[in-house]
Symmetry: D2
Subunit: 142 residues, 4 copies
């Protein structure tokens, strides 16, 4: 099933209004039904004490990718909130860029279960650096 | 049991080298044995699409507070890595500042279990905005 | 605020219908608003290969305590489902009995955030053996 | 890379000593490197108040499958402990049997990150009922 242009537009507009995404120099790589990919070039402003990307960068990119993936299975007027999220950090956040692949595991009217996998990419080598699972909640206008 | 000045110094130095903490305008509020508090004034660069602090800000502050709390119960030469962390977001990240209270739940040689509670503070009112639990790992020089 | 006798009765009836609670020889120790305690004497049928209580025993008791705690803040006609739960196992499940203390962290119409702490009790010594946080969902009759 | 007969034997012996697995009428379906499958026919003694399998049954089967999967990548003399585990319950635990597929996500000397997916099986229909991620720790003889 395709994705309506309105929902794609809604996600692009929401993403453009997130200052944190700009701080992370993040970009939308793809938007599909139940699947959104985001990338970031690991800006210096988001690093930790050893020069790797901070866990907050990995978390933020993965959380946003999962949230937008969830938004694609919600009603057009819904906004999305993260209720909870767990992250396993599997390898250092280092490379040319990182990519977060957000996926809907189980859609639902009241909550949407999501997974995000984050990869560090250097040349054509991808390393799985984080595995995240969480709960997204639709927020409807009153 | 008191905390050695060397460990306090080590935490301050590590914190000062974290660019992400500077981006979040974070500051160390207190360092005690198994207990570290960090604050952030919610800079505009860390907001999401509705003007609240981004989940990555809440996560990053809570994760760092928990990591430094864990560092106080590790050998002096250890560095600390987050292995996994779960965050429940309880209320919007809005206020004059947020404060993360990292605590050691169970110290150990191979892993340290931690909790972080994040509060939004406006005037003298504190709102509990996030509950986090996670696993920190000591990294020793070879 | 007190708890209506109807809700106490509802919880006792639901508990009595859970075969798994009988298998765990579990009992209700107390029911309060947003707070339910359950106990189990660690039956042999619920042990693991080293003679300790199995993680499923600790999880099951903590999950049920948290679920019933959530039920006390839901409408009288609601049933409760666990959506997700994380458990940190802090110490071996060994002793005369274990006690799970379920607590509501944040009530809500669509989801209730809960915490459960499980203790092993021997004589008058309590050991904290598990820390759990999770999401409970009310299910209303159609 | 194959799996030594000693490790297969060690897992079978450990499984046979777990009273909780007998209570769950669980059986080993397969053992491979970093991958162990367990099944259970949903015994009445492990049900909850609506006649579905209790979350403790789903958790216990998934946790054990993941733990034995982790054991296949540990030294032959190691025992395994669950440090933490998160479970998302995706659908009711109902069917002819349930199957838990434990997998190693990231092996390591000090901790092994695992995933478990649990399915309810009725005839040839499989329903994904739980997604679990966790941390397993090797315990070596002193």
């Amino acid at each position: 099933m395709g994705l309506s242009p309105e929902i794609v537009e809604k996600i692009k507009n929401s993403f453009a209004r997130q200052a944190m995404m700009a701080t992370m120099q993040a970009a939308i790589a793809s938007i599909g039904r139940g699947a959104v990919d985001l990338t970031s070039p690991l800006p210096d402003s988001c690093k930790q004490q050893h020069g790797f990307g901070h866990a907050a960068l990995t978390f933020g990119l993965g959380d946003s990718a999962a949230g937008y993936a969830a938004l694609t299975v919600m009603p057009p007027e819904a906004e999305v909130l993260t209720s909870e999220m767990k992250i396993h950090l599997l390898a250092p956040c280092a490379g040319d860029q990182i990519k977060a692949r957000g996926r809907v595991i189980k859609p639902g009217k009241r909550l949407v279960i999501v997974q995000s996998d984050v990869f560090a990419i250097t040349g054509d080598k991808e390393t799985h650096i984080a595995l995240m699972t969480g709960t997204m909640v639709p927020v409807l206008p009153k």
